[in-house]
Structures are given as structure tokens and as C-alpha cells.
Symmetry: C5
Subunit: 399 residues, 5 copies
Amino acid sequence: MRTLCPAGLPKPSEDARDESLYNTGWKSQRDKPAGGRGSRRGVRTVPTFKRGRAHKVGLSPGTLVHAGGSKTEETRISLMTYDEAAYEERELTRVEEAFPLKDGPTVTWIDIDGLRSIPTIEALGEHFGFHSLVLEDVVTTGQRPKMEDHESYLYLVLRMVRSKDSTGEIDDEQLSLFLGPGWVISIQEKAGDVFDPVRERIRSGKGRIRKMGAGYLAYALIDAVVDHYFVVLERLGDRVDALSERLVTEPGPASLRELQTLRHELLFLRKWVWPLRDVISRLERCESAFFSDSTRIYLRDVYDHAIQVMDTVETYRDMVSGMLEIYLSSLSNRMNEIMKVLTIITTVFIPLSFVAGLYGMNFQYMPEIEWRYGYFTILGLMAVMACGMVLYFRKKRWL
Amino acid sequence: MRTLCPAGLPKPSEDARDESLYNTGWKSQRDKPAGGRGSRRGVRTVPTFKRGRAHKVGLSPGTLVHAGGSKTEETRISLMTYDEAAYEERELTRVEEAFPLKDGPTVTWIDIDGLRSIPTIEALGEHFGFHSLVLEDVVTTGQRPKMEDHESYLYLVLRMVRSKDSTGEIDDEQLSLFLGPGWVISIQEKAGDVFDPVRERIRSGKGRIRKMGAGYLAYALIDAVVDHYFVVLERLGDRVDALSERLVTEPGPASLRELQTLRHELLFLRKWVWPLRDVISRLERCESAFFSDSTRIYLRDVYDHAIQVMDTVETYRDMVSGMLEIYLSSLSNRMNEIMKVLTIITTVFIPLSFVAGLYGMNFQYMPEIEWRYGYFTILGLMAVMACGMVLYFRKKRWL
Amino acid sequence: MRTLCPAGLPKPSEDARDESLYNTGWKSQRDKPAGGRGSRRGVRTVPTFKRGRAHKVGLSPGTLVHAGGSKTEETRISLMTYDEAAYEERELTRVEEAFPLKDGPTVTWIDIDGLRSIPTIEALGEHFGFHSLVLEDVVTTGQRPKMEDHESYLYLVLRMVRSKDSTGEIDDEQLSLFLGPGWVISIQEKAGDVFDPVRERIRSGKGRIRKMGAGYLAYALIDAVVDHYFVVLERLGDRVDALSERLVTEPGPASLRELQTLRHELLFLRKWVWPLRDVISRLERCESAFFSDSTRIYLRDVYDHAIQVMDTVETYRDMVSGMLEIYLSSLSNRMNEIMKVLTIITTVFIPLSFVAGLYGMNFQYMPEIEWRYGYFTILGLMAVMACGMVLYFRKKRWL
Amino acid sequence: MRTLCPAGLPKPSEDARDESLYNTGWKSQRDKPAGGRGSRRGVRTVPTFKRGRAHKVGLSPGTLVHAGGSKTEETRISLMTYDEAAYEERELTRVEEAFPLKDGPTVTWIDIDGLRSIPTIEALGEHFGFHSLVLEDVVTTGQRPKMEDHESYLYLVLRMVRSKDSTGEIDDEQLSLFLGPGWVISIQEKAGDVFDPVRERIRSGKGRIRKMGAGYLAYALIDAVVDHYFVVLERLGDRVDALSERLVTEPGPASLRELQTLRHELLFLRKWVWPLRDVISRLERCESAFFSDSTRIYLRDVYDHAIQVMDTVETYRDMVSGMLEIYLSSLSNRMNEIMKVLTIITTVFIPLSFVAGLYGMNFQYMPEIEWRYGYFTILGLMAVMACGMVLYFRKKRWL
Amino acid sequence: MRTLCPAGLPKPSEDARDESLYNTGWKSQRDKPAGGRGSRRGVRTVPTFKRGRAHKVGLSPGTLVHAGGSKTEETRISLMTYDEAAYEERELTRVEEAFPLKDGPTVTWIDIDGLRSIPTIEALGEHFGFHSLVLEDVVTTGQRPKMEDHESYLYLVLRMVRSKDSTGEIDDEQLSLFLGPGWVISIQEKAGDVFDPVRERIRSGKGRIRKMGAGYLAYALIDAVVDHYFVVLERLGDRVDALSERLVTEPGPASLRELQTLRHELLFLRKWVWPLRDVISRLERCESAFFSDSTRIYLRDVYDHAIQVMDTVETYRDMVSGMLEIYLSSLSNRMNEIMKVLTIITTVFIPLSFVAGLYGMNFQYMPEIEWRYGYFTILGLMAVMACGMVLYFRKKRWL
């Protein structure tokens, strides 16, 4: 039973183990145009996908309304079709142009950037026979990574991450993958993706890709997605590293904020990667005919990578959570240092000041006042007191 | 065995995994009329459902006593009956008016608001053959979401949440759903629900709803309940967001209180959603004839949504729990700042004061006193001391 | 296999999931006569059951030595026997008087209060054929709730809790239940129990109880035990509520102590309820002939209640654990307030004092001294300094 | 499959659930002769068994080198042999003297104290046919409790604990048990054990022990080991109790150290008890012919005890971990008290001192100075200021 | 099914239990040549393996690019071949020299140090028929320990650790093991390994190793790897021990840093050991013909050792995490001590200074000034005040 390909329903027994892990639909708030709520401070910590979701409340299920908001751009459709001998690549203005290739002998890859064009999605759905709930998932960004086996096609949702060049922050978008016999359809939220190396390999004809079927292409796309998690994690690792330094050298609100940001980014990475692992594992064990045995061994490899990503995320989380404790200890330590300085100064000078005040009193009869060397005696006494105090603090190892 | 529809008993193996998760019966204490214990401060943190439960102690099982207390209102019974061609909608004064429709060809939906009318519940129970323990559960609010398969009908308990318009606080009530062949009965604690879009879809005849059976109607109701969790979470997210700002800009007891309130609300949301997921999963896998295969695919969709709700709740919990730590760090940081100011001022002026005190002594023989420029010398000395201190603090990076 | 009734051995796979949960044998230390170790402070936090256990070390297994200590009182034996038509109730001086009823047609309930009379237990064990290890468990209080199926009878250990009227503290005792065909034997540690409503229902003949067999009676007793957990939790909830207020209004060692007491009480409640749930679940799924199918449905209801108790305990634990953090934050906050006051006062007056000290010096040549308006100038200067400081603190939002 | 007796390999599925639980080989560092590293402070917290282990690195597996170090003493061999009618007890100088009894009709118990005599172990191994890896485990102390079924014999490793009379600290040693048809061999690290009551029962012939076979003897030994955990826990409970008091009355580094010691002792107890439970559970379910059905029921009893020990350990851990938090709160509280005193004194007197300093200035023209009642006016003003401050602190509830 | 040898894919059910445990590819940052980022402070906490991984992004799978970076050195190939009668050992310049031995009757062990020579790896892969993905794993250091059964050979990845002599820091490298019928190939990242004792045993012919096949050799290598974890843990234990002392005697940033370093080292050890245990367990249960039954029992032994390593790592983690809390408590304690000193001094002297200041006022009419014993009266008064204060602090137990 376990090697069957369950139709996309996470088994409760698997879910429960992953409790409190999943999340989806978080969007880097830094993308938001200025002026919105919370935009003043540059970082918003709360996912907004609920908004889209909440706006759909009450609609009949299967109604296509793009709920992804700010990330959507113009829709771009590009087509690649190849077999071992040749390949063709072109931009389409209408998705219908690609339909004749559906049952052709070549491998066809339709890549759609942007979800704004509902008619495109609908045409696609109609021609390829996708279920309306699946189409709804495609346009409702913020899905949790999942895999559904609809017999005539496989449907996958993944979260594709990239590192922004400037800041190292995570740029994420939803990727829908459809895999059928001889064709792959990928639908992304916006322009820009991680698939250029795959395209390059198709164009150059190097490696195995041109010799294998659509299943291998799907694998190659998933592999590209997983590999970019490594890139993102490397940037993140640099930031963890830098923060680790900075919390010691310049502790303060700014570092705390960065710490919190890192924690949130790791929180979301984790929530994308955990179900991803599940998706790939189900892909590999699934008996779908879309993957040949030789492709399956590559899926296993990608699965190992997904676990490695997960490990790294967990390690970073452990490190970042340890940082806060160390930081608190440092603050306490520093506080102790400050208090010591205050205490030493105060403790040394307050008694001296008292003595000085004593001989500043105006009593008419104060015998010491009239002594010839009273002043110097008192100065000496004060010096002794001060030295005593200092020795005392030495003994207590405060100095 | 797993695809069978277990008669409502949570399997221990599943329970144990969800350990410490469930809760039920929490009522927003803000509903309470003023004057009660704890009402002074506006927020009570401890659920009171036990009271109802405790008052029932010693009664024979199956005795119907409404134990839900303050939320109960007048009972309102409304009836919708429809098939693909037509629909009828009316208010009933007595529930018995709806009984003839039970075995009719149309889909019948009886919706009851308010639990005060025990005879209504009893009449319903008798006519439809509901078990007395089930009826007891209907009137004893504070049930944990569950699903029981009584062969001739399915019984579901869900917790229906809405966001109060004014404050964004959570307004929750218990929803009992009965599903039989051709009929659905929903019993709510009080007026007002999340089903208006469903009613609208029935009236307009748009979408699939009029074409499908009672199973699809039950699905639509559950879907409406789950969708409102998204609405509630969005409001909550706004509050988390605002609090995140406020803990930094105005840390203090008020923000701490808000933090605690948020934590409790998330605690309860979590405890309602976890078993909810279980309920839907069991519904989907259950072999009951009330759900056609085409409806079952929609249940899977709702299941995905329930998991997404769960994810979001967990994410918010992680964020809110992180907030307290960050807040504590901020407090420590701020304390350090305060201490630095105190220490710098004290450390600079106390030695100066001592010197001034020294020359305020009234000794008859103090040579410096009589020097022509003694005063200015001492002033200069003091300036040097002060500058030295300031430089020292500079070096220590306290300034 | 799972519906079989395993003979009392917790399956490791179930145990492991409940790791760190079980506990037994804790006795409210407030029962202890004064004078003992730790009695000075009124609360002892460490269970003492080990003592009893430890005193038994080295005895042959199955040896009956009452190890429960201080709670034991005189043994009271009461008998109830009933069928649908009639019931009889009487106090017995010797347990042997009840033996003739064992195989009679009526339902017989023997209720024994107090464990001091070892011969009574032994006579019972011999007549009913109880295993010597079971009898040892009966008299060795501090057992963990469990259920053992010895074919000719079922043996259950439960922990019965009540709320003390005066303080709301938990009063707990061990309850042993034997269930055979036509008879139920309940053995309690001490007088006073939660079974009066059950007795009343038997006497009045209302409800189902007189019509059903011994299995239903056992169910009714278990139900009474579980229902009293709700009563205890309600009292506890009030205390949690009150403490929540008090930690804010009068933080201090007393509230901390109360917090710790609450934590311990919840810790023990939890450890009694977790295995209780297991016991009931096993009862329900077990194939024993002692429970008819119609009774089994009631066991399912009691199981739901046990889960609800568990939920509430977990919720309280979450709340109480959150309280400490909030309390620590409050302390930090308060400390910051105190430090601010100190710092403001010190920072405003120390420079002023220095200036005053300056002009208290006795130098013979201090030009300002002789100025006509020197004094007023200086006073003005001081006022300016003070105002400057105050403005500075305003800017820093410390005032 | 589960009732089979797996040959000593912990199933991964069970191990994983016990993650982070196991430990072995910790030796009470207080046994160490003085002079070693860390001996200055009396308590070393880090297990040293690795040393022995590390010294064996590179040896061929199965090589017998006693790696237990400091605990080993002279080897003592004692023999008990009995049947229902008679018993014999004697000390052996050479283990070979016992070999003729191996296949005799009586039950033979060979008890070896001390691991220094490798030839004894080897002779034993050869005669009884023990695997060389098993013998290696016997002499390599620091094994984790385990059970291996080698068909012709069962091999068990347990950790035997006792409480030192003087301090209540835990004294632990490794116990190896071999069980074959008609014989039991127990090998301990050093003299002194927990088996005296068992020996006494054999001698007196009371109870069941003389009537039953070697399986029952093995049970009796295991039971004695488990029972002594209760004794140890009782002593520990007293220390937890005392510490709980002391953290409040005399908080300080000494109590913190004791707290840390308790935590470590509980950590190790836990790590010995968790696998112990597993061992007993496997023993009970195993189909070995060495245990008769009537003995098996006793194993179930011992299993219940092991779970009770585990519960108690977990409870103590919860308590001890709660203590630290309470202690930190107390420290914070106390700090607040100290700060309040400082702040009140400072805030009351600093302004007064300033005023006094003001009139200590030597300006030639200070009108108040010359007033008749200037002095008294100022004194009155100071009194008013002081009272104002005190009232202010009253209002703030600092007094 | 469980005894089958799954082809290297960790079963999700097992993975999930080990959640947040795995990690791979961490390299002791102290190896890095100076000058790199972070090298200033000597310790970098973030793994860099991602770099290698990230650089490979976009390459066709199975492309061999050594991604291990700084650890790679010249490749050294050594060959051992033996049977019971004889052995031969030599250094190879080209790996092809060993190929003729592949199918010979002797056991052949090819050991390769260094991954720089891609052609060597490729030649090996071609001759022995290794899958290209496996070869990719060999050269991509940072793999998670795993085992893959490719029918004609087994592939294992382990992480080999050693302790650096000078500092006790952990020196780790990736070890790839191939096991076929009659041959073992081990590929290490760099020169130096833990196999010298194995080589010695082969040379001397002592023990079992020369008599057994390649499976036993593989076992011996794995055993050597696991045994060195004990050595590393012993060094680590010493450092934990020393730190435990040092946190008390010299708390400060340096000890905090050491604490953090220890935590990270334990974090990584844990992440290497958890999958290691899995690998060995799968090896043992796997039905591969490469291991004879007599070898399998040794694998079980090594499995026990792996669990013991895991236990020790977990224990150290518990200890180290407890240390931070104790350290924070100590800091708080120390702060309280400092504050007490400050408060006592301040509180004693400030009122005295005020009195002195009072009589330093220059009012013309101050009756006490003119008293004969005014000065001494005031001195006495001050002494009384000081004593009162001291007594007050005594009472409060601050002194």
C-alpha cells in the first residue's frame, strides 16, 4: 500500500508527525509597495496570504479568482519542445498555440509566468482536463507544497525560493507543476525563475536530458528548485555568521531585529521544506507511469538533497535560537560590569565625601580643626580608606 | 481498516500524537455580563465551560439540560429545501413542520439557532432517531470537535468562529451537524452564523450546489466554517503585527497583557483546529454512502484548507512566543542604557564633589586655600578629572 | 488484534508516546499531621509514596501489607444489590455476608472504605479468586491507573479526586474496581467518595441503571469519577484565575508559591488523567463479555469526557507556564521603572550638589563669591541645569 | 511478530521514540580517589566511562579487557543451589567448582562480585557457551541495559543502584544476568548488592521462590533491582524536598550546585530506567521457555513497577526544572527589593543634601542666611520634602 | 519487508521521527586558512558546505566536480589484499593496478585518500560499475551518513571524526565505503584516518579478521569509525568538565564563547551519529549476501556502540544546556551581591552626609552650632544612625 501513489491526501499519520511545521503562503513583506500598514519599518513579520484567502470566502469552490495580489505581473508563456535530435523554443502569445503538441512524440514544456490571465489558465485546464479545484489551487498562491495524482496527470505545488542579490533576503513564489505523458506545464507567480540551467542543458543537448522523457524534465525542474534552497541557505548562513559576530560587538536593538528577521525566515523555510520532502518521497514511491525506473533513482537523489536542506535549516534554527540565550547572557554580563564600575566609584568616594563633609561643619568647638596637621591627618586617613576599599574590591576580584 | 469510518472514537494512536493539543469549550469571556468575578479587568483567561459540566455531575447520562449558559438565546428554526429545479425557504415555529420532508426527494436543511428549547431538540431526536447521548452533546456546549458515524446518520461537532467587528476578538460557538440521506440539520448555539454565502448560492442556483445532494450541502457548510477561520486569522494577524510594533515602541504592562491575550486566543484556536482536521480527514476516508465520490474530492480540498489554518496558527504561535523573548531582551537592553546613564553621571560627579567637599573643610591650616590661584587650579584639576572620565567611558564605548 | 482486551500490560508502543507523563501515588501533603519534615511551611512538594514502596522492599511478591500510611481509616463495608424491580442496601460488619450474592441474579455492589483490614481483602480475594498480585496492588496505594483483564473478572485502578471545600485543594485517593458477571466491588482508601449520585439513581430507580447489568454499574462509577475531575478543574480554574490577577496586583513570594503549588497540582492531575484515558479506551475496545454493546456506547461517551479533562489540564498547564514568563517580564519592567526614578533623581541633583559644593569651598580668592548677584546667578544656573536634565529625560521618554 | 523474543537488537522504531534518553556508564565521580582532575570540588559532572571504552579502541572485538577501572575489587564467587526440599550455599574459590551443577535438577545461582578475574569470566564463558561479544560486554562496564536472547541462554544487563547511607548519593554498578535452564549467573562490578532479601527468602523457604524454577529466581533478582530504585528515589525525594526549602531560605551558589547535582542524578537515573523498562517488557513478551506462564505474570508486575519508577523520575525532573525558574524569579524579586531600598534612600536624601549644600555656599550676599529663622525655615522645608517623597513612594506602593 | 535491504531511501516514517536531527557537511572552521571571512576571531559557527553545493547548481546530475574545497590534498592510493594464509600491502600510483584483484579469491581493500583526482574516481566507478550519482556523492563532501544497496555492491557514507591532539577540537571528514563480494573500497577526504589498528590486525593475522571475508573487513572499518567517536567524546567530556569549573570561577565572555563552541560541536556530532545508527541498523537487517551470519552479530555489537555514542552526546547536550541556565543564575546572584554592597554603603553614608551637610550650612542663627558639645553630640548621633542601618541590614540578612 505504501508504494501506491496516494491521490494527494497527506496521510494523517504523516501529518501528525510534522505537527506545527507546515506553513505556506508567506510573502516577503519587503516586496510590498510603501505606504501600506507596517511599511514604515521595512519589515513586516506576519504573512498576508490570509487576505487573499479571506477575500474568497463565500465563493463557490472551483471559482478562479487570482488571490495572490501584489506579486502578479503580465503573463508570459514560453514553450520548449525537444527530442533527442532537436529542440525548439518560442514565446507564445496564446496558450492555445501549444495544444497541438500535447500528444506529439516530443517532450513539451509549457512555462507560464504570472497568474493574472485567468482565461489562459482556464483554457489550459479545459484542454488538459485539469480538475477545477486544481486550477483554483494554481491561482490561489499560498498553497502548501503538495502532490496530487489525478491518474491522467500529476499535480505538484512547490515553493520556489531565490536570494535577492542586494540583501540576501528570500524571494519566494509558488510553482505549480503538471506532469503528463510527454508534457510538463509549469506555472509561476511571476517572471524570473531558477530554471535557466535546465533550459541551457536542453539547448546544448549535453547530459541525459534530451534523451529522457517528460518525467526526467519534471525531475530536472524539481532538482533546480531544491538546489536553489542551497543557494538561499548559503546567503542565510553568511547572515547568521555576520549576526553572530555583531551580537557580540554591537549588541543592540538593530541586531535583535536582524535576529528576529532571521528567525522568521528560517521558520518559513522550514515550513516550505518539510512538505517538500514529503512530496518528493511520494513522487518516488508512487507507481505512476510518468517516471521510468531510471528517472526514479534521480528522484531518490533529489530526496537526499531535500533532507540535507532540512538538516541545514534545523541546524540554523538551533544556532539562531542559541544566539538569543548567549546574547542575554552577554547583556547580563555587561550589566554586571557596569554595576561594578558604579559600585566601586560610589563605594570609594561616598565615605570620603562624608568625612570631608564632617569637617565642613561649622561647629564652634571642633578640636581637630585647630590641630596643626589636622588637614594632613585627614587627607592621610582618606587615602587609607580609599586604599582599603580598593584592596577589598581586589580581594572580591572586581578589579 | 483505515478507510472504514470509525464510529467517532478517536483512535488512541492518533490522540497520543496530538497530545496536549485538544481543547474545547472555551468561551470568550468578554461576552460575560459585567459584575462577575474578574469582569473588572475586561479579560478573563480561564474557560468556564467546566461550570456547565460540573453542574451536570450526578445526572443520569443522556439527560438533556442545556449547560451552555450565557450564550443561549431564543430558538429560531429555519428551513431550506431544494432540488435542481426549485428551492423553498421558510421560518418554522415548530420543528415538527419540517418532518414530512425527511424522506422527500429534495434536499432538506433544517437550521436551528439557540439551544434553550429542549423540547425542539427532543422532538428532532425522536423523529430522526438520534441517540440520547448525541442529543446530550448537542446541548452541552464545549464539546471537542468530533465526528460520529451512527450508520443511519453522521453526527459532527464543529466550533464555528467569527471575528467581532469592533475589536477583532474571536466569537465562537458550537455547531452540531447531522447528515442523513437527503437532509442536513445544523444546530447552533446562538443567532448569527457563517452560512449566508451558502444560502445565497442555494437561492441563486449558481455553481454546483443545487445539483448535488445533502452530502455536498454538508461539505459546503463545513467549508464555510473552515473559511471563516481564515478571516479570523487575518484579523489576528493584524493584531500580531500591531503588537510586534508596539512591544518595541511602547513596551509596558498593556502590551504584555495584549500579548497574553493573543497567546490564549491562539491556544484555543489551535485546540479547535487540531481535532477539526481529524474530523474532516475521517469524513473523507469514511465509507459512508452520504458522500458521493465527486463530493469526496471537495472534502479533500477542505482538508487541505484545515491544514493551512493549522499551519498559520502554529506560525503565529511561534511568532508570538518569540516576541516575549525579544521583548525581554529589549527590556534588558534598555536597563543597560539606563544604568549607563546613571553610572556615567555618578562616576563623573562624585569624585568632583569629593574634591569640592575637601576644600569646604574648615581646617585652620590648609595651605592650598591661601594660594592665590588655588581656586582656579582646583577648577582645572576638576576639569581634567571629568575629561578623563569621559574619555574612559568613550574607550569603553559607553558614550 | 487491537480490539482484543490486552491483559493489562501497557503496550510499549503506547507507553512510549506518553513518555514522561505517568505518575502515581502522589498524596496531597497537606493531609500530613503537623510536625513532620517540611510541615512548617504547609506545602510539601515531593510525593512520599515511595516510602510505602520502599518499606516493602525485600518482601515476597503478593504479600499484603498496607503501604498507604496516613490516609487509612477504619474499614466500612456497604452492600447494594438490585434488579429492575427492587433494591436492597445495607452495611456489613463482615465481608463474608455478601458472598452468597455473588452468583445471584441481581446486580451486587460491594463498596469497601479503608484498606486497614487486610483479612477483609484476603477473604474477598479468596472467594472471588483474585490473583495475589492484584490484591497487593489494592492495598499498595500509589498505583498508576490501569486495567487488567483476568478473564473471570476485570481489575481497574483509578485515582478518585475531590476538591476540599475549604481551600479548593485536591483530595485524592486510590480506587480499585473489580467487575465480574453480576457484581462490582469497589475498594477505596478512605471514607467519602463521589458515588452518592449513583447510589441515588439506584435508589430512585430513575434512568437506565436498574435495568442494566453490572457493566453499566461499573460504567456509572467510572463516569462519576471522571465527572469529578471537572469539578476539581473548575475549582482549580478559579484559583488560576485569581492568581492571574494577583501576580499583577501583588507580585511577590506568596504568589510565586501559589504558582508553584498550582503547577504541581496540574502535574499530578495530568499524570492521573493520561493513563485514565488509556484505561477507558481499552475498556471500550476490549472484547470482555461484561460490557454489553449498549453499555459500550456509554463508555465511548466517558472516553470523550476523559479527553476533555485532559484538554483542560493541558490548557491550564499552558496558561500557568505562560504566567511565569509574564511575571518575569513584569518584574523586569518594574525594575526598569525603579531604575528610571533613581537615575532621574540622581542625575538631576548630583551636578547641582556639585555646584553647591564648589561654592562651599573655602578658598580665599574666589571671585564669584564676592559678586553682588553671584548667589542668584548660581541659583539660576542650577535651575537651567535641572531643566536641561528634565528636558533630556523627556526626550528619552523616561518621564 | 511482537511476541517473539528479538535477539537483543532494539528495534529502531522503539529506539527512535526514546530519543535522547539512553545513557549508560556514568559512574558516581565521588568514588574517584582524590588527586584526579576535578577532584578538588568533590563533584564531577561528566561520565568517564569513555576512557575505558577509548582505551579499548583498536582491539579485536571480543577481546576481554576489564575497562571498568576504579570500582573493581577482588573477585568473590558464591553459589546457591536449591530445590523445594533443600538448599545449599557456599563460597567458591574457583568458578569451575560450580560447573557440575549446571545440568543438575536443582536451581543453581552463581553470583560473582568483581570483574578483575578475567580467567574466571573466560572459564564461565567457555563452559556455558557464551558468545565472546557477550563476555566483552560483561567486563566492559558502562553498558546500556539490554536483553539478548541467545537461544540457549538469555543475557541481561541492568544497572543496579543503591543509596549511600551517609549522603544519599547514588551508588551504581553494572549487573550482568545470565539465565539458562536451571541456572542463573549474576556478575556484579563490586561487592555489596541488593539481593540479601532474595537470599533470605531462599534460605527460609518462605513464599514461592523455592518451588519455582530458575526463571522465577531471575525475576526475583530483577525485582530486587527495580525495588531499590524506589529506595534511591525516596532518598532523592528527601533531597529535592530539602532543596526546595533551601532555595527560598538560603538562595546562593551552594544551593545552585546542589540543584545541578540533583539534575544530573535524575538525568542518569532516567537513562538507566528507560531501557530497563524496555528490557522487562521484552522479557515478558518473549517466548523463551525459561519463563513459565505463572512467572510471566510476575514480570508484568515488575514492569508496572519500572513504569512507576519512570514516572517518579519524570516528576522529579519536572519539579527540579521548575525550581530553577522559581529561583530566578525569586532572585529578580529580591533584586527589586534591594533596588527599592536604594532608590528610596537616595531619592529622599539627595535633594535634602542639595539644599544643605546650597546653604553651605560661601557667597557673601545670600539673604536667607541672615534671616532670623532661616535655619528653621529650611529645616521645615526639608521635612516637607522628605514627607512628600515618602508619600510618593507610598502611593507607588514601594513602602 | 523490514528485513529487506531498502535501497538507500530513508523511509519517511523513520525520518520524521528523527526530525531536526540530521546534518551533514559541517567542517571545523578552524581548518580554514586565515584571511577568510570570519577568520579574525578563530571560530566560525556556520557550516560552509553549502558553498560547494551552491557552486554545483545547474550542473547535470552525475557530473563529478569535487566540491569539498579546502580539505582536499594529493590523492594517495593504498592496497591491501589478504587471505588467511598471507597478506600483501602496497602503494599504488594508478588505481587501475588494483583492478585485476577484483574477482580474485583474496579480500582486497583499496583505500583512497583525497578526492582531487577525479579520473581515479571515474576509473574506479567504471570498472566496478558504480552509478554516476553515487560517484557524485563520493566527491561532494557534506553528505549525510547513508547506506544504499545497489545489489552488486553496497555504498555507505559515514563521517569519520578524530580529535586534534593540540586542542581537542573535532577533525571530521567524509568516508565513502564500497562493499562488494571480496573487495572493500574506502575513499576519504584527506590523509590520516582511524584505520591503523585494523591494518595492524591484518598484518599480524591475530584475531578473526584474516579468516573472514570482505563483510568482516567492512565491519572492522565501521567499528573503527564508531570507536573513534568514543575517543572524541572523551576529549569533549574533559572540555565540558573544565568549562563547568570555569563558568563558576571565571564567568565571562570567554567561557560563554567556549560554551557556544561546545554546543555547536555537540550539535554536529549528534547530526552525524543519528543517521549513523540508522545506517548500521539497516546494514544489520539487510539481506545482503555480503555479510555472513557470523559477521552480522558483530554489526549488532557496533549498533549497540552507536547507541551508546548517541546517549553520551545527548547527555552532554543536556549538561551543556543546563550550564547556561546555571550560569545565568550565577550572574543574577552576583548582581544581587554587587547591588547589596552598593546599597549598604549608599544607605549608610548618604544620611550621614546629609547631616554633615546640614551643619555645614552658613546660617547665622543655628543654635546647635554654638553648643559646647554640639560636635560630639552630632558625631554620636551619626554613629547611632550608622549602627541602626547596619542592624537593619543584618535583620534583612544582607550582611
